[in-house]
């Protein structure tokens, strides 16, 4: 991260006020970073401090509630093994995510162009969404097996709906005047879709990407929990059955770190891609 980027990150008020970013010294940036991050650090410190304190004072045995320090000590030796399982989970999640995105985007494009499709199919999409996906997990093992396929299916099932809804809204959210202009110069439907609607839908696509990445991982993990030889979900199932609370907490901690990293990553990415949209400029891109 360059100084300039860091300055934009940390002192957007100065940038908005028109104060030249380049004149910010490293000291300003440092103060900005401290101002921005110390409440968060404080929050985590209180959270873990209370946890550690309560467990120590009540003298709760570690196999029921381990202290954060105990979890952390158990986490690092287990990390290589956990990462090997995580690869499997991420593979299922990303394949499922791609399928879910494809179904959602193609479905939205079709529904935006043919109203009859939207009227007929959207309620069914809602109905499918209402079926609690976890209920399908045990059935999927019976239907399509024990390997990667049911995990991919679950990840796709859980991700397609937010994409569909957001893309329908996004593809519709075109400027009326721009649409009229395109029509007067005789643009084809295809051109309007590609040059106008697709651009208009990008902020909405980004907004749902922030959610569905996480959802895809949840779907894959749930699939693994109910029957698998590999994956983080399998680790969670095994360790909880055997009351290996350290292993269980290590897996949960890894998932928490992964999820948090994903949130930070998508937020930063969103600011890069749709920086021109007002939702990013005003809210700082927080979901």
């Amino acid at each position: 991260m360059t100084v300039r980027e860091a300055a934009i990150e940390t002192r957007p008020d100065l940038v908005d006020a028109g104060i030249a970013v380049r004149r910010l010294t490293r000291r300003d940036v440092l103060i900005g970073l401290v101002n921005r991050f110390w409440p968060g650090v404080f929050g985590f410190a209180v959270f873990f401090g209370v946890w550690e304190g309560v467990v120590r004072i009540t003298d709760t045995p570690a196999f029921i509630i381990p202290t954060p320090s105990f979890v952390l000590a158990a986490f690092f030796p287990r990390l290589p093994g956990l990462l090997a399982e995580l690869v499997y989970t991420l593979a299922a999640a990303s394949i499922g995510l791609v399928i879910g995105l494809a179904i959602g985007i193609i479905g939205a494009v079709l529904m935006v162009h043919w109203r009859i499709l939207e009227r007929g199919l959207f309620p069914i999409a809602v109905l499918i969404k209402l079926v609690p996906f976890v209920a399908l997990a045990p059935l999927l093992i019976v239907w399509i097996g024990y390997d990667l396929k049911p995990k991919i299916f679950l990840a796709a099932l859980i991700t397609y709906f937010p994409v569909l809804v957001n893309m329908i809204t996004g593809l519709r959210s075109v400027d009326e005047q721009a649409l009229e202009f395109f029509r007067t110069v005789g643009s084809s439907r295809w051109e309007i879709l590609w040059r106008l609607r697709w651009q208009a839908s990008l902020p909405y696509l980004m907004a749902c990407l922030k959610v569905v990445g996480h959802l895809a991982i949840v779907g894959a993990t749930v699939g693994e929990y109910f029957g698998s030889k590999n994956g983080i979900g399998m680790v969670i199932a095994r360790t909880s059955e055997m009351l290996q609370i350290q292993g269980l907490f290590s897996a949960a901690l890894l998932m928490a770190l992964l999820g948090s990293a994903l949130v930070i990553l998508t937020n930063t990415w969103e600011r890069r891609v749709v920086y021109w949209h007002e939702s990013v400029r005003t809210s700082g891109g927080r979901g």
Binding site: P39, G40, F42, G43, F44, V46, F47, I64, I65, I116, R119, G120, L121, F122, P123, I124, L127, L130, V131, P132, F133, V134, A135, L136, A137, P138, L139, I141, V142, W143, H214, I217, V218, T221, V222, Y225, F226, I232, G233, I236, A237, T239, S240, L243, I245, L248, F249, A251, A252, M255, A256, L258, G259, S260, L262, V263
Partner: protein
Amino acid sequence: MRSLQRVFVNEALPPLIAFIVLILLWEGVVRGLGIPIYLLPAPSASIETLFRLLSAGWTEPTYVGGPPTGIMRDAYVTLTEAVVGLVAGSITGLALGTLMAHSRFAEQSIYPVVAALRATPIIAIAPIFIIWFGVGVAPKAVVAAISTFFPMLVNSVVGMRSIDPQTLEFFQSVRASTREIFWNLRVPNTLPYFFTGLRLCVSLALIGAMVGELVGSREGLGHMMIATAVQLRTTETFSGIVVLSAIGITLTAIVQVVQARVLSWHESERVS
């Protein structure tokens, strides 16, 4: 009368036709290809089983993991877990959200912790609560509460913050106290956001309760579904899915009715 007819033709007919086509297709494929009932039951077989399970009424389970005789009790257990979790999660979310909306520092220090908790898949947390609280209602309600509290928190923060500056200025110019501004301006302004969050949370609470049950339980729809799925009693698993979806739809409808009553003054209700 004419407009009612038009509404029916435009709004209700296409999904109805699509739904019927889907069901018929399903039935046709199952019969045509001779798919065995334990793999994918036809709609007709599923409905038959559903009625058998419903008409059995309130029956206690015979033994752990035993075949389900009635579905009412399981549905009641899951509903209790979801509703208790929903209420607890909403109250926690609202309280923390109110705190965060009033203090920047509270927001900046609480939000990262909550976001990290939220980023952890619920399936990773659920087994921990089963170990702590046993296999009863409590751990499922906790899991449901955790799934619901984040949307409530975000919605209440946004609702409390997004008040019209002119109205706020007016309140301040007539020397309204902070407490008056809170009850007469911020709280009513939060209500639409609250109901949006609540509608979202209904299905999240049910899924949370289900996840808790699937991880460890002796009764409830989740338990019934996993017990029947591993025994390849697939028609009964499908009945569970149907009942669960029905509960979800009913709860959502209840929230919508209450919302229409409470928010009759708000433009979002007036337009539609």
